[in-house]
């Protein structure tokens, strides 16, 4: 096994051998989680808003139940959630370690977070717009899709960006318990084996990825925002 006193930086065999994979793992983990979070979080957010007191289908009981469930999932610390749902993770991906396995708890942690962001963005759409379109004889489905979602989209994109950025830092935590990626590399070699160069490179790369995501998110939000 290589030790801390051998060659440094790009001559360091740890970096030579593992860095590219770690970068890819982090990117895969983040993308897959982002995809599933959007897939489930967006409808959940819409449901939360529409069942809520200011929604198009206000049903107080359903809203309460859903709301409590969402808050519960958000309250469980991520590191605990990850370990707690290992049996479920095994069921879904057939393994408990590796980046594919990390996607399951990451997604479950991120869905309620993103759903609340969606709910908030929809709440910011002025109700006058909803009534104006209602007056045109539009169905509630049409209003949800063409008014709430479309007018709330810049906010939703902003919320999604924040969610993904948070996700990236969570992938590092997942790395601590075998999730792979830059986080795991930093902990296993940078921390446990005192390789300062590995640590620094991982940190810089994580910052670069986060910045790229944030920048892209801002750009997209600006492009679709005509306010």
């Amino acid at each position: 096994m290589p030790s801390a006193t051998d060659e440094l930086w790009f001559d360091n065999p740890v970096i030579e051998r593992f860095l590219v994979d770690a970068i890819l793992e982090t990117i895969y983990m983040t993308s897959a989680t982002g995809f599933f979070t959007a897939l489930f979080g967006l409808p959940l957010g819409i449901l939360l808003f529409n069942l809520g007191p200011k929604g198009l289908y206000p049903v107080q009981l359903f809203y309460r139940v859903l709301s409590v469930a969402v808050d519960f999932a958000r309250a469980v610390p991520f590191i605990i959630l990850m370990i707690w749902i290992i049996p479920f993770t095994r069921l879904v991906v057939g393994a408990a370690i590796g980046w594919e396995a990390a996607v399951v708890p990451l997604t479950i942690g991120a869905i309620p977070f993103f759903a609340r962001m969606v709910e908030n963005s929809l709440r910011e759409v002025s109700w006058g717009k909803v009534e104006a379109v209602q007056m045109m004889g539009a169905s509630k489905l049409h209003i949800t899709w063409n008014v709430l979602l479309r007018e709330g989209l810049p906010g939703i994109v902003g919320g999604f960006t924040i969610t993904v950025v948070t996700l990236i830092s969570f992938t590092a935590m997942a790395g601590a318990v075998g999730g792979g990626g830059l986080g795991q590399l930093a902990i296993n070699y940078g921390y446990h084996r005192y390789m300062g160069d590995v640590m620094l490179i991982c940190v810089i790369l994580l910052v670069v990825i986060v910045t790229a995501v944030q920048y892209t998110g801002n750009y997209v939000a600006r492009r679709i925002d005509h306010r």
Partner: protein, 354 residues
């Protein structure tokens, strides 16, 4: 407008909110085709509730509403959606979708009604032309001025060819020049398309400028209604004083007697010139303390405060004016001041609360 063919017909409309709050207390109203009807009232009088009931956004507690022969109060679901398409609505805050260009905002009701794309495009450019924004089709609302936004709002309201245009404080967020332009637009649209227009407003100037008839809403009831000139001529009506209001007069001595004269539909005195000729003919010396003259539907209408020299000449002035069929009464400086204070309170800007 008393004909059986009213486009809008409200029959004893009552709306009671939970907690026994009566917002509308038996409103009956008939509005004939092609007329512009103003509904005025202070905040809390029930204007907002009335408009929400008219559009089916709010259920009635009792009574009935028919618009263009369709019942609005009993319609639900798909039927209500269809009934709403017979009404075009213009809002105080316009409520355009920021994510759509002017053209796509106007096309929205047509999309909902399932009009095919090619037809939609033709209709939109026709509407943009109609409201004078042909060159603004691809602008987003954020790139338009307040008046332009309201024009787009009006074009959108007219897109699905409604019989009725419902305007809820359409000019309250606009400056006076833009207000005039928007009101002129509404009138010319009525003239060209023959639509029936309801304007809910707290601005008397809006009523003066374009309404054919007006209703005053007070405590959830229609306390006055009629043709504009009739309502102004009705000296017992608070609306008369609000529609033709006098500018504030400051330098009145306490106890000063004044003759208030209302110039409206009268056979002998057609305009303000006739009035002065009459006073001169009869050798009545009177100084004008304050006056307000408006041209309403092509007729000169006004209210004047004349200051007679003494009690005797006041009586003589009254006599001359009465014999000419004009409404005139004696008033004092104190009364005028009290009325001014009340008017000021009424004119204070108000938001339509809900």
């Amino acid at each position: 407008m008393e004909s059986a063919s009213s486009v809008i017909e409200l029959q004893d409309v009552r709306k009671v909110y939970p907690g026994n709050v009566t917002a509308l207390d038996g409103v009956s109203l008939r509005i004939g085709p092609g007329s512009i009807h103003g509904i005025v009232g202070r905040s809390g009088a029930g204007k907002s509730t009335l408009i929400r009931c008219l559009t089916g956004l709010e259920d009635l507690s009792s009574g009935s509403i028919r618009i263009d022969g369709r019942s609005m109060d009993r319609a639900t679901g798909a039927e209500l959606m269809k009934a709403r398409r017979a009404i075009g609505m213009v809002f105080q805050h316009v409520n355009l979708l920021d994510s759509r260009t002017a053209a796509r905002n106007i096309a929205h009701p047509l999309e909902i009604a399932g009009v095919p794309r090619a037809k939609r495009r033709a209709r939109v450019s026709e509407l943009l032309e109609l409201v004078g924004l042909a060159d603004r089709a691809d602008n987003y609302p954020a790139q338009l001025s307040g008046g332009q936004k309201q024009r787009v709002g009006i074009a959108r309201a007219l897109a699905a060819e409604p019989r009725v245009l419902l305007c809820d404080e359409p000019t309250s967020a606009l400056d006076s020049t833009t207000t005039r332009q928007i009101l002129q637009l509404i009138r010319s649209l009525r003239d060209r398309l023959g639509i029936t227009v309801i304007i809910i407003t707290h601005e008397m100037s809006v009523v003066r400028e374009i309404c054919d008839s007006v209703s005053l809403l007070e405590n959830g009831r229609v306390s006055r209604t009629g043709r504009l000139l009739e309502v102004i001529s009705d000296t017992t009506s608070p609306l008369s004083k609000e529609l033709i209001s006098l500018p504030p007069t400051s330098a009145l001595k306490p106890g000063q007697q004044l003759v208030e004269v209302l110039l409206t539909e009268s056979e002998h005195v057609q305009n303000i010139g006739d009035l002065f000729s009459l006073l001169a003919e009869q050798a009545v010396p009177a100084r004008v303390e304050a006056g307000s003259i408006e041209t309403i539907q092509g007729k000169q209408v006004g209210r004047l405060h004349l200051r007679p020299e003494d009690m005797q000449s006041a009586q003589r002035t009254l006599q001359v004016l009465h014999s000419a069929g004009l409404h005139a009464e004696l008033t004092t400086a104190e009364q005028v001041a009290a009325e001014e204070a009340a008017a000021e309170e009424a004119e204070a800007p108000r938001e339509g609360g809900r």
